[in-house]
Subunit: 147 residues, 2 copies
DNA sequence: TTGCTCCTCACGTCACGTGAGGTGGC
DNA sequence: TTGCTCCTCACGTCACGTGAGGTGGC
């Protein structure tokens, strides 16, 4: 119930037990906790070729680059892309240059995605409008659903 | 390629070949066309207990009540409910009284659903905002994605 | 020995899509 | 016989959830 050391600790001090080899590695639980996703999700992304953590026996060891990559995957999801789309959007990542391209979106892709989301937004707004109408109808009928 | 007799005909003149018995019945294709859904969807709703068309051998015959029921199902989907939720929302339909309750939403359910949709709307709006920012970034960088 | 973290199958969920293979009436 | 509409399996898709059963180090 102590909330004092909540989140950033996992960022600053990852996977102490695997840090001995100079490179800091994250366990699957480290990343799951930091990004508030499940272990299953991490393994699923790997099965889809989005993540390729090192192995130490059966254990997955995520590097700092893996962690960055994961943040891009989750960013892509927030933007409404499918995992297949995200896969191609971050395909040219880790290109030996140490650069972080992030999601490589073209202007075309931006526009198409915005269009898609605008349509979804419109559908939701229409639904909300109708539900509000239904709600007031339920009130004005007799003051309640008395039948 | 003749578009003159497009849609409403199916409403006014349903399933002529099964109309002989006084009651007009709709075929699965009649309803699929009228509501712009697939045959598969109709059969799926039936498998989930949402629809129970008469049978003539293997053929499905949908009554006017079935058609009304289907319209409620699709309305429920528009409002963002799952099929399981819709199932219970229209459970007390066809209650021998000829009344059409439609979706039996309580005020509580209205409010909860509106909340859900508002959250979804917010997520989408945030995504759109970020995509617009990304888009302008792509423009102001060098006038294009020139590496 | 118990407890924790990790692992690999593998089936379940949601709302259908998509063939495969077969039937019935014009 | 061809063509159309209808049918029943049954596997595939999407993004995981959810046990089951087992391992390894403190």
């Amino acid at each position: 119930m102590d909330l004092s050391g909540r989140t950033p600790q996992w960022v600053a001090e990852p996977a102490t037990q695997y840090e001995g080899n100079r490179k800091p590695y994250f366990t699957i639980s480290d990343l799951a906790r930091e990004f508030s996703i499940t272990l299953r999700a991490l393994r699923f992304y790997e099965s889809k070729g989005l993540l390729r953590p090192k192995r130490e026996g059966n254990l997955r060891l995520y590097s700092a680059d893996d962690r960055t990559r994961l943040s891009h995957i989750l960013k892509g999801k927030q933007l409404g892309f499918t995992l297949a789309e995200i896969r191609s959007l971050i395909a040219n990542e880790g290109g030996a240059e140490g650069v972080e391209p992030g999601l490589q979106l073209s202007r075309e892709q931006c526009i198409e995605q915005i269009k898609l989301l605008e349509r979804q937004k419109k559908d939701i707004e229409d639904a909300i409008t109708e539900l509000r109408r239904t709600y007031t109808d339920l009130y004005t009928r007799t003051g309640g659903p008395a039948d």
